[in-house]
């Protein structure tokens, strides 16, 4: 079986700074639920960034959905990103777009008609229990609501893989529950691979998962 993510001897650093990841070895299979944990500054977000091509590896190999990130050009990278759903800790919603339009973004990029985009966005907003706020702007929502919008956006185009960076970092209990349910559903019902970077794995998840732990630039698989 081909891995969705295959990293071998990965070295990651920002510019000329000292490498943050010096020995990144990890294999993620399709439809797996994966947690990447570690202390603050251990490089959890850095490794996630490399998976969606925001950071190009200095050394080693990183294959995402069969594409080598190290030698990727911008048009191939654009294409790869259309198969991914990304959730950021700081939400990264477009503030002068409505909530509905934000959710529509990956579908618009995928070239779907406006009718399809609206229908799918409304369906997802219903899932995250924010349909009544479809016409609002992100800054009119609470942090938890904004993260649920970001989650809906990440799921809108049925991505092959979801990459989530601390998706429940600063959220209230209710919003956290909605987010974990959505991620679980994506894995169980849509066959999506889910990679979550977090400080803390929820104890009530009730799902099989793979766990990688980062320490001193080395990625360990926790059995």
């Amino acid at each position: 079986m081909e891995h969705v993510i295959n990293a071998e001897n990965l070295t990651l650093s920002y510019g000329r700074d000292e490498p943050i990841i010096t020995e990144g070895n990890l294999k993620i299979n399709p439809n797996e639920f994966v947690f990447i944990t570690g202390k603050s500054g251990s490089g959890k977000s850095t490794i996630l960034k490399s998976m969606y091509g925001e950071l190009i590896p200095k050394k080693g190999d990183l294959n995402v959905c069969g594409v080598n990130i190290k030698n990727i050009n911008s048009s191939k990278l654009n294409l790869l990103r259309r198969y991914l759903g990304i959730v950021f800790q700081d939400y990264r919603l477009i503030n002068d777009w409505t909530v509905e339009k934000n959710v529509m973004l990956p579908l618009m990029i995928g070239g779907f008609s406006k009718g399809v985009c609206v229908k799918q966005a409304q369906k997802l907003l219903k899932h995250v229990k924010l349909l009544h706020k479809a016409d609002k702007y992100p800054l009119e929502l609470s942090g938890g609501e904004q993260q649920r919008v970001a989650m809906a956006r990440a799921l809108a185009h049925n991505p092959v893989m979801i990459l989530a960076d601390e998706p429940t970092g600063n959220l209230d209990e209710y919003s956290s529950e909605v987010i974990w349910d959505l991620l679980k559903n994506a894995k169980e019902h849509l066959g999506t691979t889910v990679v979550v970077v977090t400080h803390h794995i929820p104890s009530t998840l009730g799902i099989d998962y793979k766990h990688f732990f980062l320490e001193s630039g080395v990625v360990y698989e926790v059995s």
Binding site: N78, N95, M108, I109
Partner: protein, 269 residues
């Protein structure tokens, strides 16, 4: 409100740019019309001992539109009372021929000198009168007028370019976030930049329309008309199709160029 501000910050410099451009065109047209009028009134007088072959002169000296013989009858008629008819007949034979030459365009000072030298070098002409003092005065005035219009529009152009570049910096800040988010989701180049391109295309049309309205209405203002008449100037009519086309073309090229710089800069980041 924010959207209106966004539009105004593009429309204003574009309007200033197009207005100054159209003003320069208008000044040039007025000056050209005036020059044509002067060319019709201006002529060089040459004195020749024998009848002049117009074809020979035209082939040897470039820039001559027409050559007309000045009749000596008037001079001789004036002398009739003082001189005997026999002497008048002798004078008629001895009197050189005078020709008035009209030129194709209003000549520069150098051009006049060239024509004068060329005429004298043919060996057919004994004297050339170019009325250079009057001509040079008018020519220098025109040159100053054209140069002033050019300096004015260059100055305005620099100001509008600076204004647009300032706006560009604001765009960089405003759109960086949106474009970077779109990039993370794999948006193609055209989709990321569509907002800015749409904005400047719409604003180019609006600014062109405003300048067209201004220049169509301008000649109908009494004060401007009175001033033009007092200066013996005819304000040329605004050619809706041609002039609007040029203005719109300039607005689009200029604004699209600026936006492309912004987007290239953002993409590099």
């Amino acid at each position: 409100m924010k959207s209106l501000k966004n539009h105004l910050s593009v429309i204003l410099p574009l309007f200033v740019l197009l207005f100054s451009l159209q003003f320069t065109f208008l000044t040039n047209k007025i000056v050209d019309n005036y020059e044509n009028k002067l060319t019709q009134d201006y002529s060089i007088v040459v004195v020749v001992p024998k009848t002049l072959s117009k074809a020979v002169i035209k082939s040897r000296v470039k820039g001559i539109k027409s050559i007309e013989e000045i009749s000596s009858k008037k001079i001789l008629d004036r002398l009739k009372g003082n001189i005997s008819s026999k002497n008048i007949s002798l004078l008629k034979i001895a009197l050189p021929k005078f020709y008035s030459m009209k030129l194709k365009s209003f000549p520069s000072i150098k051009e006049i000198e060239r024509i004068k030298k060329k005429l004298l070098s043919t060996g057919l002409v004994t004297k050339v009168e170019t009325f250079s003092k009057t001509h040079n005065k008018i020519y220098n005035m025109f040159k100053a007028l054209k140069n002033t219009a050019f300096i004015f529009s260059t100055f305005i152009l620099i100001i509008s370019v600076l204004l647009m570049f300032k706006q560009m910096k604001i765009w960089l800040l405003e759109h960086r976030e949106r474009m970077s988010i779109m990039t993370l989701f794999g948006a193609p180049f055209w989709m990321k930049s569509a907002v800015l391109y749409r904005l400047v295309i719409v604003d180019s049309f609006i600014s062109t329309l405003l300048v067209v309205i201004a220049f169509v209405l301008l000649p109908s203002i009494d004060k401007i008309n009175d001033f033009a008449q007092s200066m013996n100037i005819i304000i040329p009519k605004f050619d809706i199709l041609k002039d609007s086309g040029i203005l719109l073309g300039v607005a689009l090229i200029f604004s699209l160029f600026i936006v492309s710089i912004v987007i290239r800069k953002m993409n590099k980041e």
